[in-house]
C-alpha cells in the first residue's frame, strides 16, 4: 500500500493531474505558476470553501472520492447561487503523510465527477503535509453578461422558491451517527438494522439519505435558470434553511414568510427515519422512548435547520413562471409587518425549531 509520504510532491501530482478535467474555459491548465482562464464578459465570480477532517467529514464514513464530490459540489453551488455558470476550480490540499495514495487519487476522481455535470475544469492546486486532511477549494464562474444575483435583492411581494432536497443531508448524518445500517433484520451486523415500518427495512432510504450527506448533489443548473427567469435574490443553503433564509431577509431588509404546507411532504417522508433514529439513540424520557412530538421535532429540525443540502433559495417577482426544478415555498413581506424581531417566519409565526449550524462552533 502506497502512502503519500513515500512519494515526492511531483510524483503525487503526476498521479492526480491526469485525472482532472480541463474545462471549456481553461486557456492554460496546471503546471505553471498559475492557470489562465477565460472570462468572456470581462468579469468572473469567485468563492472559496474549506473542508476539514473530523469537522466536515470523517474518513470512517467518507472515502476520498466522497470528499472530492462533496468539495466540488458545495463550491460549485456558491457559483450557481450567483446565477453564474461554474468554469473552473483550484484546490489546496493538506494531507498527513500516512494517508494512502488511493485516498488522494479518489479525491481527484471525486472532484472530476463533481465538475462533470457543469463542464468545469480543475486547473491547479497546491499540496502540503499536515496533521489532518484539509481540502480548500476556490471556484470560478461566468456571469454570461447577466448581473449577479445577490442576497440583497428580495422585495416585498416576491415569491420565495427552493430548488434541491431539504433535510436529507442532516438525516443521512443522523443515520450514520446512530449506527443504524441498511441490513436485513436477521442478518449478522455490527450495527442496528434500520426498520422504519412494520418489519420493512428501507435500504433504499438509508442509501439515498447517506449519499445526500456524503456526496450532495446540488441543483447547479437551477442557478443559471433562476437568473435567466429574473430571480431578485439567491443563495446556497449550506447552514440550514432558516439560518440562510434569514441572511437573504437581513441583506434585503425584508421578512421571508415560509409556507409550512410546502414542506409537509419532506417532513412526512423523514418522519419514519426520525422515529428509527430517535429510538436507536435513546431520545425521549428514559424508559419511555421518544414521543410522537419528539419524532416530529427531530424531522422538523432536519428539514428547517439541517445544513449542507446545498439546495438553492431564491426570490422571484410575483407571477414569475418558475423554471424547473424550482418550487414556491413562501413569500417576501415587509420587515416588521407582523413579527418585528423575526427575519424568517413560518406561516406567519416564529419557527418552532432553532436555526442550524454555525460552522465555526461546530
Amino acid at each position: 500500500m502506497t502512502r503519500v509520504r513515500d512519494l515526492s510532491e511531483d510524483q503525487i501530482l503526476d498521479r492526480i493531474v491526469p485525472l482532472l478535467p480541463r474545462g471549456g474555459a481553461t486557456l492554460l491548465g496546471p503546471g505553471d505558476d498559475a492557470a489562465v482562464l477565460a472570462a468572456p464578459d470581462g468579469r468572473f465570480v469567485v468563492s472559496t470553501d474549506v473542508l476539514v477532517e473530523d469537522r466536515h467529514f470523517r474518513t470512517r464514513w467518507s472515502t476520498g472520492y466522497d470528499v472530492g464530490r462533496r468539495a466540488a459540489a458545495q463550491n460549485l453551488a456558491d457559483v450557481a447561487a450567483m446565477g453564474a455558470r461554474p468554469t473552473a476550480l483550484v484546490t489546496s490540499l493538506v494531507v498527513p503523510g500516512d494517508t494512502e495514495l488511493d485516498w488522494v487519487v479518489g479525491l481527484a476522481k471525486g472532484l472530476a465527477d463533481g465538475c462533470a455535470p457543469v463542464g468545469a475544469g480543475a486547473v491547479g492546486g497546491d499540496l502540503a503535509g499536515g496533521p489532518c486532511l484539509v481540502v480548500a477549494i476556490t471556484v470560478h464562474g461566468d456571469l454570461e453578461g447577466r448581473a449577479p444575483v445577490l442576497r440583497s435583492g428580495a422585495r416585498p411581494g416576491d415569491v420565495v422558491a427552493h430548488a434541491g432536497v431539504r433535510g436529507w443531508s442532516a438525516a443521512g448524518l443522523a443515520l450514520l451517527e446512530s449506527g443504524l445500517v441498511p441490513a436485513p433484520v436477521d442478518a449478522p451486523t455490527t450495527g442496528v438494522p434500520l426498520e422504519v415500518a412494520d418489519g420493512v427495512v428501507l435500504e433504499d432510504v438509508w442509501h439515498r439519505l447517506v449519499a445526500a450527506h456524503l456526496r450532495p448533489d446540488p441543483p447547479l443548473a437551477a442557478g443559471v435558470a433562476a437568473a435567466q427567469a429574473g430571480a431578485t435574490a439567491m443563495l446556497d443553503l449550506s447552514d440550514g434553511l432558516l439560518r440562510d433564509a434569514a441572511r437573504v431577509a437581513r441583506a434585503s431588509g425584508v421578512r421571508l414568510d415560509l409556507d409550512p404546507d410546502a414542506f409537509a411532504a419532506d417532513r412526512a417522508e423523514l418522519r419514519p427515519v426520525a422515529r428509527a433514529v430517535a429510538a436507536a439513540t435513546g431520545l425521549g424520557e428514559p424508559g419511555w422512548g421518544p414521543t410522537p412530538a419528539d419524532v416530529d421535532r427531530l424531522a422538523d429540525t432536519w428539514v428547517w435547520a439541517g445544513g449542507e443540502d446545498h439546495g438553492l433559495l431564491a426570490t422571484f417577482p410575483a407571477g414569475t413562471v418558475l423554471p424547473a426544478p424550482w418550487t414556491a415555498v413562501g413569500r417576501v413581506v415587509e420587515a416588521g409587518e407582523t413579527a418585528p424581531a423575526a427575519a424568517v417566519t413560518v406561516g406567519g409565526h416564529a419557527p418552532a425549531v432553532s436555526p442550524g449550524w454555525d460552522h465555526f462552533r461546530a
Copy 2:
C-alpha cells in the same frame, strides 16, 4: 483574552472583513455567496498556495501578521511570475478554537499590508475550526492584454536574469533555528548572541534575514516589467534556485548555465552568518568545529538551494536591456551541450550543492 472559540463565525468575520482591502478590480466584495472581479481583457490568471502550521511556519516565531504578509507575498509572486498584475485574493482559514482572536486579526492586517503594494483586494474567504492553523490562499491577476510568460519559453542564447534576494530566507530560518539572537554579547538573554566578526554583534543582519524569512518581500512589480520587456520564460523561486531553475530548463527543453560570479556577493555577505550559525549548531568535526569549507558549503546551500525567497527567475532574448531590478545571472544553452544529465549548471559544471526543498516531504 478573546479566543476564536468564544465567537461565532459571523462575529469573527465582522472583525476581519473591515480590515481587508477592496482592490481596484473588485466589482462585488465579501458578504455574498461569491465575489465578482473584473477581468478587462477577457482572461485572468489564478493560483493557489497553502501554508500549514509547523510545516511552513511556527507560531513561536511568526505572528499572525507575519503569516498574513507571507501568505499574501508568496501567492502574489505566483501571479507576478506569469507577467500578470495581481488583482485580488480569497482566503480559506482553518484555526484551532483556542487561537487568540488577535492572531486572526493580525493575519488579516498582514494580508492587507501584503496586498497594498500592488493594490490587490482581499475579497472573500471561509473560516473553519481544525487542529492546526492552515492558510490557503487563491490569487488572481490581470494579463493586461499580454501573453502569459510560461516556464517553457526559454531559448538557447537567452539571458537568465534574477530579481529579488537570494538565500536570505534560508539564512533567516537557520538563525531562528540556531537560537542565535541579536542581543549585545554581555546582555542577559535566553539565546546565544550573534557575533559575526570581532565582537561586533550584527543586529541589523539578524533582523534583515529573519524578516526575509518571516515576511518575504518579493519583487512583485518585476513580473509585469519582465513581461513588458519581452521575457521568454519566468517563474517564482519558492523551492530554491537550482530546483526551480531546473523546472524552466525542463519545461523549455534547454539547460540553464548560471554564472557563479553573479552570486559571489550573496555568498560573501552570508558567509559570516554561516560561520556563526555553524559554530552555534555544532557543525563540523566534534572538538574541531566548522572548517572554512563547512562554512562555505552552508552559505552556498542558502544561496543555491534555499527556498521561499520568492524572487523571480526569467529569461530574456540576448541583448534585452533588463529593467530594474533584474540582473543577469547566466545564459540559456542547448540541452545536452556539455552536461547531458544536468538541467542546470553553474559555470558549466554540475552544482556543488544539492537542489533544495520538496515541500511535501519537508
